[in-house]
């Protein structure tokens, strides 16, 4: 009902106050979106954007986990690096665009942007997770003469995993946003570029339709991330409680 209300409100506002060329009514946008869905161009662009997202995410997760464990496992290293990490994290990754444009092609930059931004999130989640490891569990494992590797697998990893689940949910939307930014700012082939070019050529209905579909894509990715998180953490108390409730 809320959705219908919002759609109606938008329809009325768009028709009353705006030119169709600036804000097309929903009744024009939705058919256009459906038309796009049947065309090949939209799916090629989506595929390109998603592949940039996927490659960037894989790099970020692998590198982030490795770096997080490397930094977080040794207290001295963590103390020595924490100020540097704190400094680097808030630096928006898009400042890299002008620098990278000179040396790489736009697709590589897009992947790199996705990877860098998501990398920070993963690293910090791993560090938070490592801080949360139960001292008693570690000491117990040690008393049972579990080696360093076995302790990491059986004690540390399960503690860090929920934090990685949270990271996963966060980075999926960040990755999509940056993959689109790459298209908008640099014209890297994909959905972002398609939106920008339809804006430049004045096809505002098509652009609104694309944005509408992009939101749908966001919902899809978000659901996928949630599903993956639940799978990954099916043994965790919070998930089990959810299943019962």
């Amino acid at each position: 009902m809320g959705l219908a209300g919002a759609a109606t409100a938008y329809e009325i506002l768009a028709r009353l106050f705006f030119e169709p060329a600036h804000v097309p009514p929903l009744s024009a946008v939705v058919p256009e979106a459906l038309r796009l869905l049947t065309g090949e161009r939209f799916w090629t662009a989506t595929g390109r954007t998603l592949s940039a997202v996927a490659v960037g995410l894989v790099i970020a997760v692998v590198a982030g986990i490795l770096a997080g464990f490397a930094l977080g496992s040794v207290p001295q290293v963590r103390r020595a690096t924490s100020s540097t990490l704190d400094f680097l994290r808030p630096v928006p990754s898009i400042v890299l665009i002008p620098v990278l444009v000179l040396v790489l092609d736009v697709r590589q930059i897009t992947v790199l942007l996705v990877a860098v931004s998501c990398f920070w999130i993963v690293v910090f989640q791993v560090l938070y997770g490592l801080r949360d490891v139960d001292r008693v569990a570690v000491d117990t494992a040690r008393a049972f003469r579990l080696g360093r590797l076995a302790r990491t697998v059986h004690v540390t990893w399960p503690t860090v995993l929920p934090y990685l689940g949270t990271a996963l949910r966060l980075i999926v939307s960040v990755a999509l946003a940056l993959a689109l930014t790459g298209g908008l700012v640099m014209g890297a082939a994909g959905l972002g570029e398609m939106i920008w070019s339809s804006q430049e050529s004045g096809e505002s209905t098509g652009m609104y339709a694309l944005v509408l579909l992009t939101g749908g894509l966001g919902i899809g990715l978000d659901q996928l991330a949630r599903l993956a998180e639940r799978r990954l953490l099916h043994w965790h108390v919070a998930t089990r409680r959810e299943a019962v409730a």
Binding site: G2, F18, S82, P90, P92, P98, L102, L184, Q199, T214
Partner: protein, 254 residues
């Protein structure tokens, strides 16, 4: 003293390493740090500061302030009462996942090019984390506390303030997220549609192959992001002092 050493040690080493390694650099794209620092002084301590940095900061501040006010107000209403919550639920779910940068072309068409557009981009992009966090925080208000307040017949206004205060840790979490987002949106919107501002200047330098100047701009944006994050942390720590002390986080962190 030791803590200071830990905090400054690695950054000092890294900067020194950059300085030494790049000193004799002849690569056009990776100029010596010395040149970048000189360019930094020449570019940003001059008229550019007034003509480009000030407009950027102004847009950022105004856009962020509007986002903050609107986000907290709407989030409060949505979190507090069931009817607006039910009505806006699906819409919020949609805007939560819609990536903010795609709003730039939409607003470009709907509002046109101008200072207003950049403001609106920052506001519209940054408002969601604040709104959603506020709504969640308000919803999770302490039931017992509220009922106690009602039993004491505290006036309605006081009870609203009570809820808002209880939600403030989460509001701050959203506001922090929104701050990072608004810096990104500021730079991107200036790169795409502007004739002044930081993002525009950096892209301009890059297009005219003024590489040291471009690097200095990148450095400035980085410093800006860092500085604002620190400033925010300071404000948050002051505003939530009661909360940190209350939950024992203060002792745990040390």
């Amino acid at each position: 003293m030791r803590a200071l050493g830990y905090a400054l040690g690695l950054p000092a080493v890294l900067v020194a390493a950059w300085w030494v390694a790049s000193d004799g650099s002849t690569n056009v794209f990776l100029p010596p740090l010395r040149t970048i620092v000189e360019a930094f002084r020449d570019v940003w301590f001059s008229g550019t500061f007034v003509s480009d940095v000030v407009p950027s900061l102004w847009r950022l501040a105004a856009g962020y302030a509007v986002a903050l006010a609107a986000g907290v107000t709407l989030g409060f209403v949505i979190g507090r009462w069931a009817v607006p919550r039910a009505l806006t639920g699906p819409l919020l779910a949609y805007f939560r996942v819609l990536p903010a940068p795609v709003l730039i072309p939409v607003l470009l068409v709907a509002v046109g090019i101008g200072d207003a557009t950049k403001l609106v981009v920052i506001t519209v992009g940054a408002v969601w984390p604040i709104l959603l966090n506020t709504a969640d925080g308000v919803r999770a208000a302490d039931e017992v506390g509220l009922e106690t307040a009602a039993a004491y017949r505290l006036p309605r206004r006081t009870r609203h303030l009570l809820v808002l205060r209880g939600a403030s840790p989460q509001i701050f979490a959203g506001a922090r997220q929104a701050l990072g987002l608004s810096i990104i949106l500021m730079v991107v919107s200036e790169m795409l549609m502007s004739t002044d501002g930081l993002g525009f200047t950096v892209v301009q330098f890059q297009r005219s192959f003024a590489i040291p100047q471009m690097w200095s701009g990148v450095l400035l944006i980085g410093l800006l992001g860092f500085g604002l994050a620190k400033l925010f942390e300071l404000v948050e720590r002051r505003a939530l002092r009661w909360h940190r002390g209350h939950t024992g986080q203060l002792t745990e962190r040390r």
